[in-house]
Symmetry: none
Subunit: 197 residues, 4 copies
DNA sequence: GATGAATGAGTGTTCATTCAT
DNA sequence: CATGAATGAACACTCATTCAT
């Protein structure tokens, strides 16, 4: 009797991760428009053909990369989240988490910004993505119920709570701002004043 | 002998304007990545070669288009601006002007968003662009001096004053929001609460 | 007033013809499977991109080439056709015309054979192609009416009248046959015996 | 220790046969040009690498498949062949056998037609292939000797005897013909008239 | 024997740009 | 000024084949 013990080559996770890193790096350096499959492959030190083993096509690569980053972002933002902390403290934690992730992973973040403004964005099920961020919405909801936060739509709240931080921590858009603790404090105070009752 | 009638200048301008409109339309429909020179030329009903009479190259076309839109945006935002109105009223006027321009020219606005997040953005002298918006900064400055507005950097103030509005009125990013007067009022209230002392 | 006297470059018929010749030559030498667009372009001394000025895509090129050859074949077969000649003489004329065209343009003919056996064949409106050969069908019809030719379907008649000649004159399929007058005579006698009453 | 049961040989043959079937099916459906090794492997439910265990390379696969089909065709044509039957009856038997094989195995037959018109054809030792059909040539030879069949070259005879049947029973080439017994009879009569003295 | 991973070289096609008119 | 023709280089993607297991 012949038994085959995983007798074939196995997909290399390091390779897949190298491809994603290369994608992000290139998009950050030369932009979405110029980031071709062959350039990405070269940056990742693989053959263009190899890329198609891991991803169905370019769109799949770009969308998967986007989802991967969004996933990491949500994990970072929600890390050390304490359900019982006061609402302002929870939001402040989200805020600083976001700020640090974006500052330290600016290329990742800029990738998502370029992606969100491209037509590829329509290929993403945004509801699924939003689900990763539900704890944030729950905090906001609790704040509304406790009459601490203004009773307006989530879109409006989150646009004031998180889009400013994205802007401020995006190196491409905000060149004169340094991520010092004073800036973070100041900016969060504005965000809080915006949404609090 | 060739005689140039005045009408010919008009015809030329019409052509140039057709090229810009085609650029915006295409970028809005198929995205920055897929918008090639020949497609733009076809959309504008001119030869690809003609395009190179009006613009040095593709980059020049894209940058010029960006600047043109930014110019129109600043004109719209600043229209009916009354230097002597109370600060809150001035900012509210800017706010609603911006909201209406973006809502009604979404394709133009989305062009600028794609552009700003692309490396082409680095070819623009952003200081020059900002100059068109100086009246806004002057109002903010006056507000700071009159202790009406928080004394934080302009970047922080404007990121709360205008970035939210851009998001809320951008159809691609904000699909569940309708541009009704209630939404505008609500959102402006948040913006104002954010920056006011 | 400005008048433009055909002020643009004009499509080069020599170039188009070079492309068709290159297509036929390559298909004949290395086969349908291996005849890539870039090889055809190189053979025709043009850029691959140029090919797409004259043809929508590869399929269009291959189909057009097929139709072009079929057109020439029909013209050759029908040349010097005398409506009033006896039926056998007319068919003999068609026969020898076909034999000579195929013998002298073997690469052209082999192209059509490869094409007809490929899936590209389904892109052709074969009824239109057949129309070029209607005089042949009319002769056969007249022969049937005059009780000279067997009253069977045209498909059967033409398959005996013309497919054998194609085979005999196709160098790839028939290597031991020489196109001497004896062979032509012999073969035509068989064809005639097949269809005559 | 590896022990080879007899059943394993059978399994292998099944695999080899699956590969050939997949090759024929694909070539028939999408054509020679588009039939890649990996598509064939997928269709046969094996790895592309497996294919290279059974065949040296793609050419070997295609040629072997051709020879296999030719072998089956010759067996079918010669089945129930009675050496002592009258010459016309023998040929009629060949004829109907061929007709039925081609009709019922159209994909197999069309494979050979595409193959014969491709440059791969040159890799085949056609004399060897012809040997499978020697009984046919012997019958024709006997007919010539008995002054029943015209004394012309075998090429000419067989081109009238078999090429028409191939065309009539090839679905791709002959769409308006149905394989009814009347058609077979009619067509055979023409073939016979062609070659008989 | 059998596999899926891996790849350099190729595919058909479009690109931004320039040319001749 | 304006054009369609023309192109080398690049595009996204697939190829036939080999590799390590």
């Amino acid at each position: 009797m012949i038994v085959y013990f995983r007798s074939m080559r196995i997909k290399d996770e390091a390779k897949q991760s190298a491809i994603i890193d290369a994608t992000v790096k290139l998009v950050n350096e030369i932009g979405f428009v110029s980031s071709s499959v062959s350039k990405i492959a070269k940056e990742a030190n693989v053959s263009p053909a190899t890329l198609y083993i891991y991803y169905k096509n370019k769109e799949d690569l770009l969308v998967s990369t986007y989802l991967e980053i969004k996933q990491r972002l949500s994990e970072e933002i929600l890390s050390e989240f304490n359900q019982n902390a006061p609402i302002r403290d929870s939001l402040y934690k989200f805020w600083t988490n976001a700020f640090h992730f974006i500052s330290q992973n600016n290329s990742y973040f800029q990738y998502t910004e370029q992606f969100a403004n491209s037509p590829y964005s329509e290929k993403v099920n945004h509801e699924d993505v939003e689900k990763s961020f539900t704890p944030i919405y729950e905090v906001l909801q609790k704040g509304i119920e406790q009459k601490i936060i203004k009773n307006v739509s989530f879109e409006i709240l989150s646009v004031f709570m998180f889009y400013p931080i994205m802007n401020l921590s995006n190196a491409r858009l905000c060149k004169n701002i340094t991520a010092d603790s004073k800036t973070i404090e100041d900016a969060f105070q504005l965000a809080w004043d915006a949404i609090k009752l």
